[in-house]
Every structure is written in structure tokens, then in C-alpha cells.
């Protein structure tokens, strides 16, 4: 038996002006290029959960163009994020019309199961763990069920945990490899459409399992740069330190997402630098405390806001750069937010910044609230869930103000001069000795 695992890949922006502007801005293009080629860790996990006697073939969507003849399999399994779900459905429909049964799974399918079921012989909600082996077994017996529930907890424990099939990536030109050490995040931000939506609580891999995965993954690429596909890696500082001590001797360069509280712990910062962590991405969301009101149910980010500048400086002085993320269009923001974000980025010395627009992904509390308040521009806009296209009416500005403010800010933040200024700032940090705790600093890049 042969199963085709098809990943929806690539990055997207719909609004024409923004797409055109985006390709001309160096800061924007570079990050896009770096991430556009990440593999589907979800499907590598599905592959690992497949019984070894079944052949699996891993494909990414650019390998499956509509004009090409379909590559036939006994069963096709497609992963899903919201922005490309209509392309995934179209592909599923083509396969089913050709007589190949289709399974859909992943984040979007979990958030919108009934919609997805119309395009599949079977759907899997939540993680593939706890569902996929049963599904394959049923399929072989000819009794595939229309829906399977994967695990929302205990995903990283035997017998359901597996090491993703990184070997399937061998020979492909990835400049980054993803590994996941945790799922979920207790902050529960209203807008979040990430792994929090497929878990019932924060799940973390035991340190030894996380390290072992990295060891396996590093065997498949020549110059691996690792990106942890986590939402908040260093929530648990004790776990974090043990993980970093294990990681340091591997001599890697890597990136992850976490929250600003890493700055509270000097030892953690030293270990981060020593383990080769080059950048952490932190959701700062808004430059002022007022702008952060109500983002997470505990108001944690608002309480942290006045420490942002000091925290960024402290983290970066350890040689770990910060990629600060800002969200435009939050209810408490007025048009003043655009220059405020620009000023904050300049003042903070952030080496990288990511500016996106508030996006009501279907299935999130934000979507439900904006729908209730009659503020969605359309009820179905999945291909516009790109984090750059505006899909709702902001509270304290018009849609046009939000769109043009965002374009203005993009020009301010991602132009040549600003990009060069941030690069220079990083070089000066390096020259001043940032990251000297890294024993490889100065002798290995």
C-alpha cells in the first residue's frame, strides 16, 4: 500500500498593493524567503505514525500543480492551514473524482471539521497521534470512518509519541528544519490560531526526546539551522535550562518563539546564547500598555509592557537577537499606533520586527466575537487569513486607515536604510562582545 502525504506550503498575501510593496522591501522579502521552504512537520509526524510496512511518499504543494497529471496513491492525506485550505479542498476533490480516497487533517480541519468533511472520505481532528494508526488499520480493512479524534493531551508519551520521519527530507534543499518541543500556550490570546487550538493544555516533550529528535533531524541536512515549531518554548524555565544544557554541545544555530519573561532569568539567557540560539521571536503585539488591554485573559502582556525595552536590550546584549512581533488593528489601537510601532522598533534596537494585522482565523474566540459584533467584512475569507490582509472592521479606525497605515509602516520599517541600520546594530552588539558566553563565538559562525 502507498500513501501520499501532501503538504500545503508556501507563503501568501492577497491584497495586491501589499503584495507588490512586500516584494520591494528587503526586510520583508528576506524573512519570507527564509521561511517559505519549511517542511511540514505535521506530515512527517503522520508518516512516522504509519505502520512501517506501508509506503509513504511526502510531497509539497508546489510539486502538485493543477495542470499536471495526478500522482496516484492508494490513499491521500493532506495537511491544512487556513490560508491555503481552498487549494487543499480543490486538490482533495480532484483526487476523489479520480477514485483516490482522501483524508484531511491539521489545524484548519480541527477548527472547521464540518466544512472539511465535505471534501474528504475521512477527517482527523486534533493531533494525528492517537488517530492515524487506527485510521490506517481501518482503511486496510475497508472500513474507514468519516471522522477520527486525535489526542489533545498526552501526545508526547508512549505509546502515541513518535519521532517525525526527518529522513523523508533527505536530498531536498531546506535551509531550515523544524522540530517541535511543545504544543499550546497558557496565555490563550484571543486571536491565536496555532497549536493551542489542538491541545487541551500546554504539552511539553521530555528533554531527552526533544534532544533526540534534533539529533535525528540534524543527520538529514548539511548546514542545519533549526527552527522550533513551538508557540512558547521557555514557559518552564527549569525544563528550558536542562534542554539548553543538552543542546549546547551539538554546535547548532537555532531560532524559536517564546515570551518576554526569558529576560527575567540571567542563567537562562547565558544558556540560550551558549546553545547557539540566534534569535527568539516574541509576540510584543503592541508598543503601549493600553494597546495590550484584554489581549490575553490574564492581562499578562499588558502588565509586562513597561519592561519591554529593558528586556529586549538585556536579551540582545547576551547575543540572542529578538524578532519583535506587532499586531495592528487591535481594539484599543487608534491610528496613532503606526508611528508608535515605528518609534518603538527604532528605540528598542530590535534586530528584526514582524508587523502583521489582527486576523480572525475561523474557530478562534476572536472570530466568534467579531462575528457577534457584526464586524467581519465577509463571513468566509479563508484565503485572506494571511496575517497581512484586513478582514474585519477595526474599532478605532476605518478599514482604509488600517490598510494604508500598515503600508506606511511597512515602508518605514522594511526599507533599505532601516534594514541596514538594524544590521549595523547587530554587528555592533557582536563587536561589543554580545554572546561571548557562546564558546564557539568568534571561532565558529
Amino acid at each position: 500500500m502507498r500513501i501520499g502525504l501532501i503538504a500545503m506550503s508556501g507563503v501568501r498575501v492577497r491584497t495586491k498593493e501589499l503584495a507588490e510593496l512586500g516584494v520591494t522591501l528587503p526586510g520583508f522579502v528576506n524573512r519570507g524567503r527564509v521561511i517559505a521552504s519549511l517542511p511540514s512537520l505535521g506530515l512527517l509526524t503522520v508518516a512516522a505514525l504509519t505502520p512501517p510496512e506501508v509506503e509513504v511518499v511526502y510531497r509539497e504543494i508546489q510539486d502538485v500543480r493543477p495542470e499536471d497529471a495526478l500522482e496516484l496513491f492508494d490513499l491521500v492525506a493532506i495537511s491544512s492551514f487556513t490560508a491555503q485550505i481552498d487549494e487543499a479542498y480543490a486538490l482533495a476533490d480532484r483526487y476523489r473524482a479520480a477514485g483516490v480516497p482522501v483524508v484531511l487533517g491539521g489545524l484548519h480541519v480541527t477548527l472547521m471539521p464540518d466544512e472539511a468533511a465535505a471534501h474528504a472520505d475521512s477527517i482527523v481532528v486534533n493531533g494525528a497521534e492517537g488517530a492515524w494508526p487506527r485510521l490506517v488499520e481501518d482503511f486496510r480493512k475497508g472500513c474507514l470512518k468519516p471522522r477520527y479524534e486525535g489526542l489533545r493531551a498526552g501526545v508526547f508519551r508512549a505509546p502515541d509519541y513518535v519521532v517525525p520521519r526527518f529522513d523523508l527530507l533527505r536530498g531536498r534543499p531546506y535551509n531550515r528544519i523544524t522540530v517541535q518541543t511543545s504544543r499550546g500556550c497558557p496565555l490563550h490570546c484571543e486571536f491565536c490560531a496555532a497549536s493551542l487550538r489542538i491541545t487541551s493544555s500546554f504539552q511539553q516533550k521530555p528533554v531527552e526526546l526533544a534532544l533526540e529528535e534534533i539529533r535525528v533531524a540534524r543527520g538529514v541536512t548539511e548546514h542545519p539551522f533549526f527552527e522550533l515549531a513551538d508557540d512558547n518554548t521557555f514557559l518552564n524555565k527549569t525544563w528550558g535550562k536542562e534542554f539548553l544544557r543538552g543542546l549546547a554541545p551539538m554546535g547548532l544555530s537555532w531560532f524559536t518563539e517564546t515570551d518576554i519573561s526569558v529576560a527575567d532569568d540571567d542563567e537562562l539567557l547565558r544558556l540560550l546564547a551558549a546553545s547557539g540560539c540566534r534569535q527568539i521571536l516574541v509576540g510584543l503585539e503592541s508598543p503601549t500598555a493600553d494597546g495590550l488591554a484584554g489581549i490575553d485573559p490574564g492581562d499578562w502582556k499588558r502588565r509586562r509592557c513597561d519592561q519591554y525595552l529593558r528586556a529586549i536590550e538585556k536579551i540582545q546584549s547576551h547575543g540572542v537577537t529578538v524578532n519583535g512581533c506587532f499586531i495592528l488593528g487591535l481594539d484599543s489601537q487608534t491610528p496613532e499606533v503606526f508611528p508608535q510601532v515605528r518609534d518603538f522598533i527604532q528605540k528598542s534596537g530590535l534586530i528584526e520586527a514582524q508587523v502583521t494585522v489582527l486576523t480572525p482565523f475561523p474557530g478562534t474566540p476572536l472570530y466568534a466575537r467579531l462575528a457577534r459584533e457584526g464586524r467581519l467584512l465577509q463571513s468566509r475569507f479563508w484565503d485572506r487569513c494571511t496575517l497581512f490582509d484586513v478582514n474585519f472592521r477595526p474599532k478605532n479606525m476605518s478599514v482604509e486607515e488600517l490598510e494604508s497605515g500598515m503600508r506606511w509602516l511597512f515602508r518605514e520599517v522594511y526599507n533599505d536604510a532601516e534594514y541596514a541600520r538594524r544590521q549595523r546594530h547587530y554587528m555592533e552588539l557582536v563587536k561589543a562582545g554580545a554572546g561571548r558566553e557562546d564558546p564557539r563565538c568568534g571561532s565558529r559562525l
Binding site: D416, Y426, S443, R444, L445
Partner: protein
């Protein structure tokens, strides 16, 4: 005294620095080879390399050139063209102090 980088020895000097930083034998890497691809450097690693070169050769690359410098020949040309020949505070030439608005 600051070294004079008008001579022909820059490429070999640079090759030495790179070999040491990357712990690699660079004899096969040509002057026009794209270092990012050849050495598998990410964008931050490239900047660390530039910083290392600036420190060791006591030069400063123009900020506007940083993204464009990808080969040994380009490094050398930028140094020779004088864009990078003076450090801030060096009284013998025009100031290359950091751009205004830079964070402390």
C-alpha cells in the same frame, strides 16, 4: 598605526579569517563564490562574519553595502574602495560614526 589595505594581500587575509571562523578549509572556495551558499551561513552568521572582519582588519564596511557583500572579492573591493577604511574616532579622515537615531 592602522594597516594599509591598498595592497593585494586582503583576499588571503580574509581567507584566513574565514577559515578560522568557519573552521573550514577554504582553499576550494573561489574569490567569487557566494559565501552564504558555499558555507551554509544564515543571514545573522553573515553579519557576525562581517563584524569579525571589521574587528580584525580594523575597517568598517558601509552600512548600505552590508546586504550586498556575499563574496571574498566583494569584501576585498569594499575594503579597498575605502568605504571601510576608517573607524569612528579616527581623526585622520571623515567620520563614519553610526547613523543618527541608532539606539544606545
Amino acid at each position: 598605526m592602522k594597516p594599509n589595505w591598498n595592497g593585494a594581500n586582503i583576499e588571503s587575509e580574509l581567507r584566513g579569517i574565514l577559515a578560522e571562523c568557519c573552521r573550514r578549509d577554504l582553499s576550494q572556495v573561489g574569490d567569487d563564490a557566494d559565501l552564504v551558499r558555499e558555507l551554509g551561513l544564515d543571514s545573522l552568521a553573515m553579519l557576525r562574519l562581517l563584524a569579525e572582519v571589521e574587528m580584525r582588519l580594523e575597517v568598517r564596511f558601509p552600512d548600505s553595502e552590508l546586504t550586498r557583500l556575499r563574496t571574498l572579492r566583494q569584501f576585498a573591493a569594499a575594503i579597498r574602495s575605502g568605504g571601510g577604511d576608517l573607524l569612528p574616532g579616527d581623526s585622520s579622515g571623515p567620520s563614519t560614526a553610526l547613523p543618527e537615531g541608532r539606539t544606545p
